[in-house]
């Protein structure tokens, strides 16, 4: 039986909780390390090491470096492991002041200057974006990622109908107003970025009436490119599907809840590293 481990760095444990819903691995794998559910001191030798969360403390970094030595395959799961995640939101000056204030505290692990992606420190074999990735995606990782069938973009998995002749004059944002069933959320004025967000999640949010916030990151077309290229493409979609003024679209897209996800592949390590090849992204 193959063995796998889950190393949780600084994150919300949502990835781990999602994995628990993919219980079919129980028959194929032995879970040897996952502090959330297994008492074990250290990561032993494993076939697959899943890493969630960003590298935010010196303890995270220590655990990460130790764990990868014992792993055949290293998989970064979720937005935080891929980009540092939600911890990099906020006013930079505020966060910097906080970091400086907490830097020399005794007894607790020392904070790093930001939440770093895992591959800023170790080599990663596979990236599985999603906040969190669905149970189906976890199963694909643990069985055969190459067999995983998904649409290119969330839009194709959503099932809502795009209407050519309905063009909202203004954007509603993310939440306000009634949501009509079955009609494309952009037609209704919502800031949905499912048209170019990577498929594979089966579109739970737009199906439930909430616009896609792009947690799976960009589709293969944009994943190796700068974020600006994806950003421009999203703007073009809104320019053609709505009559909303350009400034309104521009402002709407500059949102923290999109920023958590839009930049997870392109601007991930300060811009001085090569982009991750799309072949490595599930």
């Amino acid at each position: 039986m193959k063995r796998f481990a889950v190393l949780q760095l600084s994150g919300c444990a949502g990835c781990e909780v999602a994995l628990l819903n993919a219980e079919a691995w129980v028959a194929q794998y032995k879970l040897v390390y996952m502090p959330l559910v297994v008492s074990a001191e250290d990561v032993p030798e494993v076939d697959v090491l899943l890493i969630s969360g960003g590298v935010r403390t010196d303890e995270d970094l220590y655990k990460l470096r130790r764990a990868v030595k014992n792993a055949q395959q290293v998989v970064a799961v979720g937005t935080c492991a891929i980009s540092g995640g939600v911890a990099n939101l906020g006013d930079r000056d505020e966060v910097r002041a906080l970091f400086l204030a907490e830097r020399d505290r005794p007894h607790v692990p020392r904070l790093l200057s930001k939440s770093h992606p895992v591959d800023a420190f170790v080599a990663v074999d596979l990236y599985v974006p999603g906040c969190p990735p669905t149970a189906e995606l976890f199963m694909a990782v643990l069985t055969n990622p190459r067999d995983f069938q998904a649409s290119k973009v969330v839009c194709q998995e959503c099932g809502r109908q795009k209407l050519k002749d309905v063009k909202p004059a203004h954007l509603l944002g993310f939440q306000q107003g009634e949501v009509l069933p079955d009609v494309c959320l952009i037609n209704q004025g919502y800031l949905c970025v499912g048209s170019s967000t990577r498929g594979g999640c089966r579109a739970p949010c737009p199906r439930a009436g909430h616009p896609c916030v792009g947690c799976r990151g960009p589709s293969d077309v944009f994943i190796e490119k700068e974020s600006d290229v994806w950003f421009k493409s999203i703007k073009r979609v809104f320019a053609s599907m709505t009559d909303a003024p350009e400034s309104e679209i521009e402002q709407g897209l500059r949102s923290p809840q999109l920023a958590m996800f839009l930049f997870q592949f392109s601007d991930y390590a300060g811009g001085d590293r090569l982009p991750r090849p799309k072949e490595k992204v599930l």
């Binding site: 129980v26 006013d91 949501v179 069933p181």
Partner: protein, 455 residues
Amino acid sequence: MPAATAFRGPKRKCCEMMTLTFPLSRIEGHARVVVDVRDGIVQSAKFQATEFRGFEYLVKGAPAGQMPVIVPRICGVCSTAHHVASVKALEDAYGITPPPLALTIRELLMLGQLLQNQATSLFIFTMPDRLGVDSIFDVNETELDGDALAGMAARALQVRQAGTHLITLAGGQFIHPVKAVVGGVTGGISAEAAAAMRSELADALLVACALFDAYWGYSLALSARLGTWGDDAPACYLTAVSGTRPNYYGDFLRLMGCEGGDVCAQFPACEYRVFLTVEEAEYSYAAQTSFQGHVLRANSLARANLVDSLGTPCANEYLQRFHREFGQPAHAILLYDLARGIELVYAIERAMEILAGPLEGAETRIPYTPRDGEGYGLVEAPRGPLIHHYRIENSLIAQAEFVIPTVHNVLAIERALRVAAERYITPDRANLELERAVGRVVRAFDPCIACATQH
């Protein structure tokens, strides 16, 4: 099983200090326990949160309307509670009340959260302590006895999944849900979907009761072996539910004084500072709450002490048995775990009741105009009362405050750890049972470290 003798310290000298550090697993997030001993006398027992989330800083400047999507990321285990508390805080600031159907669907969301959480805590976090294994997934490989254990991991996951499916139905996705929006929810639930969910819950109820009965039995055996349920001095209890058919959607906070009896204070979320004192600790990223100098307790035992009757058949039977056998209020630590099982059954039964009624056809959201100001959102999360407090200026979050249930329990956790440490450490030796006791005590409070470290 005889208590294992761990080690004898070296020959004691004057002022001999010893620090025992216990890493923790099977809890949400990163924490450890540090016990300081001098000359065989326990000096302190500290609960250290060793990760930092800091959302009070991260959300500053965010458009207020985006909070319901951003803040669930505080914690993947508690994301539903944060999602609902967030829309409630915004609605309080905007001065609007959602329509009744929206409130019903939000109650379902909170029940799904409760079901999912209590199943996880009960079966995945604490069942292994009763069975002497490292994880629930190891159960099948042990030599332990028969039928009650057969396929336990799969059955536990089945119950837990019913909770995640309920959140998905009411919230869109089960981690970081999206369906609660300011003014209501994005839509109702079709009769067909509700019926399918009810039938899944009916199956889960049978499995949950069977597993909980086994769990109750193992807990009795454990307390017989230890000679205690984890006795500790009485504490004050804090919760946002009471009475009959408790609604975890939350309205007021309630405090039960150390002597038990009636509620000694009832107050809205905006008055929490009058009653609760929150202080930082230099050795931990989590703060600590107290009430007029007293140790506070939240979570399942607080609710079992303040709720008189649950109003659903199976859960109520368990609750009456609990009150009969352990008293009301009950204070022993391991009773937290049993109380969690009662709520697991309640969540299933109550959700089935709600799903039997109409959940579509009526208004699910009302229009509103955002405005600047201040708002409080209170829910009873599985770990206790959770408050989101936002100050909004120019439509942006100027200040956010997250009042976290785990933080209310920190002093109670430390006091219980000290009792355990004193039980197992004597001047000439420390009993290895202490390591297991530390795990049991902490897990009884089911702390969530991702939630507890926001400022």
